[in-house]
């Protein structure tokens, strides 16, 4: 009986801290705006099939080629007469999956490698950083290109390739933040209470290095959407006829002057998504920092 009371106490306390976090998050109006846009895009991703059936975006109609925006086709049609609105809506799935999953994977590997390099130093640092340097030497897009070319083009390989190109930058950043945090007295104090290295890294070092890491990861999401667009542009990304924002852009290039709307609509969605993630990332950093609480 007593135990269950304490359990609900703990639960309510956790609820309280979530509430507190939310209160601080929505106080930041730009972050809230970002969050609203993000919700809107997530809504599109989840209910894409309800909004417009997938068949619509691969259905070709020769008689309706390159029509401008109008009541029949809200965003117009492309060179095969496919409905651009449907393609943008369904493209959001590919773009978001690519952006979010590559960034999270790059964050995961970057955090482990970067934190070990910065925290342990010496040989570990040297080995990790020299390998990172090798990868940094190759331009990221070229690196993803090489990996995709080697593994073959499909969604999974694309994500792997882009993660590989994104990890080195993350390792660098996280190592440098960890270096400054690992020097702090509270880390040494933690050691003096008998805390093991793993626990120190995950409970003391990384949480205190969170600010720059969150910002970097959200920036990384928009970066990844854009570089997936880049890869699609040169034909190494998502293969047609599957829609993806980047490949929509690359098709639009041919008709830049005669049908600019082909470029404008996917472009707007890419920009909105990037913006939303960046704003939310900024807001998260502020809301999670106990020092900025008031």
């Amino acid at each position: 009986m007593n135990k269950s009371v304490q359990k609900t106490n703990r639960k309510s306390r956790r609820m309280a801290s979530v509430k507190e976090f939310w209160r601080r998050f929505i106080k930041n109006k730009t972050a809230l705006a970002g969050f609203v846009i993000l919700c809107f895009i997530l809504f599109i991703v989840i209910f894409a099939d309800v909004i417009v059936p997938y068949s619509k975006c691969i259905e070709q109609a020769g008689s309706e080629r390159l029509q401008g925006p109008g009541p029949a086709h809200w965003f117009g049609t492309d060179e095969y007469g496919r409905d651009l609105f449907a393609r943008v809506i369904h493209g959001s799935r590919y773009s978001l999956i690519i952006g979010v999953s590559t960034s999270l994977m790059a964050l995961f590997f970057g955090a482990i490698l970067g934190a070990s390099a910065g925290y342990f130093g010496g040989m570990v640092d040297n080995i990790i950083m020299r390998i990172t340097d090798v990868f940094m030497c190759v331009p990221p897009i070229l690196l993803s290109l090489a990996v995709v070319a080697a593994l073959g083009t499909n969604l999974r390989n694309l994500i792997i390739a882009m993660t590989i190109s994104c990890v080195p930058g993350n390792v660098r950043l996280i190592r440098s933040v960890v270096l400054t945090v690992a020097d702090q007295d509270y880390v040494e104090a933690a050691r003096s209470y008998g805390t093991g290295n793993g626990r120190i890294i995950f409970r003391y070092v990384l949480p205190n290095a969170m600010g720059p890491i969150i910002v970097n990861t959200t920036m990384c999401i928009s970066d990844m959407i854009l570089s997936a667009a880049g890869l699609s542009f040169i034909g190494m990304g998502i293969q047609p006829p599957a829609p993806e924002w980047g490949s929509l852009l690359s098709n639009a290039e041919t008709y830049l002057f005669s049908a600019p709307y082909l470029l404008v609509f996917p472009g707007i969605f890419i920009i909105l998504t990037s913006l939303a993630f960046n704003l939310v990332g900024d807001g998260l950093t502020d809301a999670l920092d106990p020092k900025l609480k008031d």
Binding site: G122, Y186, A189
Partner: protein, 331 residues
């Protein structure tokens, strides 16, 4: 090692080696700490007091520091020969440390209660449940004079003195057998110093913890310690009971210098007498007495030959003239 001793440091030497230079930080230091007692290590900044403490905790920076000689016997076991895993079980549970600067010794992203509980969770040998740990954290907070309602607050919401109480709570929550206090009051203002100091001593007495008090403040030593070691340039130059140091007849010239540098209400000195000069460069190995360049009694013998250890009833002085030179003391 007799039953009464909890820590015995024998002939400990520590040096920091980098590509550019070798710093001889601690040189052949020996001392003993008895159960329930307090040992004071007094000396200037850079004398090697903190290095000694970190050496006992095996927390020296691995890449640069080397222990070149000696043993550190804690309850009969040599800490220097223990594996990292065994040490993890000792740190925090049997030996814990109070750090100098409370402003930086607390993790800013953990609440105070979480942080204090962390030590218990790490050494949960009694298999306490979460609720019991919470209870223990609350009790310990009350013990150091912080209302338990504040346990969900973050370190930045506390003042310096309150933070030092938190640090002390963290050090004491596992009932360690030995406590190392590294200048626990240096970063606090004077009014808080006295409070914190007397709190540490009360708790130490209450739980029978042994303590090493590292400080540069002779006032703190007089108030808290049973045994005192005066550290100069990585060496203990004088070692004895509190009475030997404060009221004894024989002294090392450096100890005299220390007493000459603090104001005294009883004597009418116009000016304080600081010790001239600076500590010797720790990167240069010394032939004779380390204090010779600053000592007003130094002779050629002092500069060329290492002084032997003079001893009388447990009162040790490392000086050629100890026991011979009776000085008009504390003039």
């Amino acid at each position: 090692m007799s039953d009464n001793e909890i820590l015995k440091v024998k002939d400990l030497s520590i040096l920091y080696k980098t590509d550019l230079e070798t710093v001889y930080a601690v040189n052949h230091v020996s001392f003993t700490l008895n159960k329930g007692q307090t040992l004071g290590l007094v000396g200037e900044t850079g004398a090697g007091k903190t290095t000694t403490a970190l050496g006992i905790m095996s927390l020296l920076p691995k890449r640069t520091a080397r222990v070149t000689s000696g043993e550190i016997l804690f309850e009969g076991q040599d800490l220097l020969k223990m594996s990292e895993k065994e040490l993890l079980g000792i740190r925090g549970q049997k030996i814990s440390m109070i750090f100098q600067d409370p402003m930086t010794a607390l993790n800013p992203v953990l609440t105070v209660g979480d942080q204090i509980g962390e030590t218990v969770r790490l050494h949960n040998t009694k298999n306490l449940s979460r609720e019991e740990i919470e209870k223990k954290v609350e009790d310990t907070l009350e013990l150091v004079g912080i209302p338990k309602e504040r346990k969900n607050e973050y370190p930045y919401q506390f003042s310096g003195g309150m933070r030092q109480r938190v640090v002390i709570a963290m050090a004491l929550i596992c009932d360690p057998r030995m406590l190392i206090a590294d200048e626990p009051t240096t970063a606090l203002d004077v009014t808080i110093q006295a409070q914190v100091l007397s709190m540490i001593c009360d708790l130490q007495r209450k739980y029978g913890t042994s303590m090493i008090m590292i400080t540069h403040d002779l006032g703190v030593v007089a108030e808290t310690c049973d045994t005192v070691g005066v550290v100069y340039a990585g060496e203990i130059v004088e070692y004895g009971q509190l009475a030997d140091i404060f009221a004894g007849e024989d002294h090392h010239p450096y100890t005299e210098g220390l007493f000459g540098s603090i104001p005294n209400l009883k004597t009418k000195a116009r000016r304080l007498q600081p010790i001239e000069g600076l500590m010797p460069d720790p990167t240069v190995p010394v032939e004779g007495c380390r204090f010779a360049p600053r000592c007003k009694y130094a002779t050629d013998q002092c500069r060329s030959k290492k002084p032997p250890l003079w001893e009388k009833d447990g009162h040790q002085i490392r000086c050629h003239f100890a026991g011979i030179r009776k000085e008009a003391k504390h003039e």
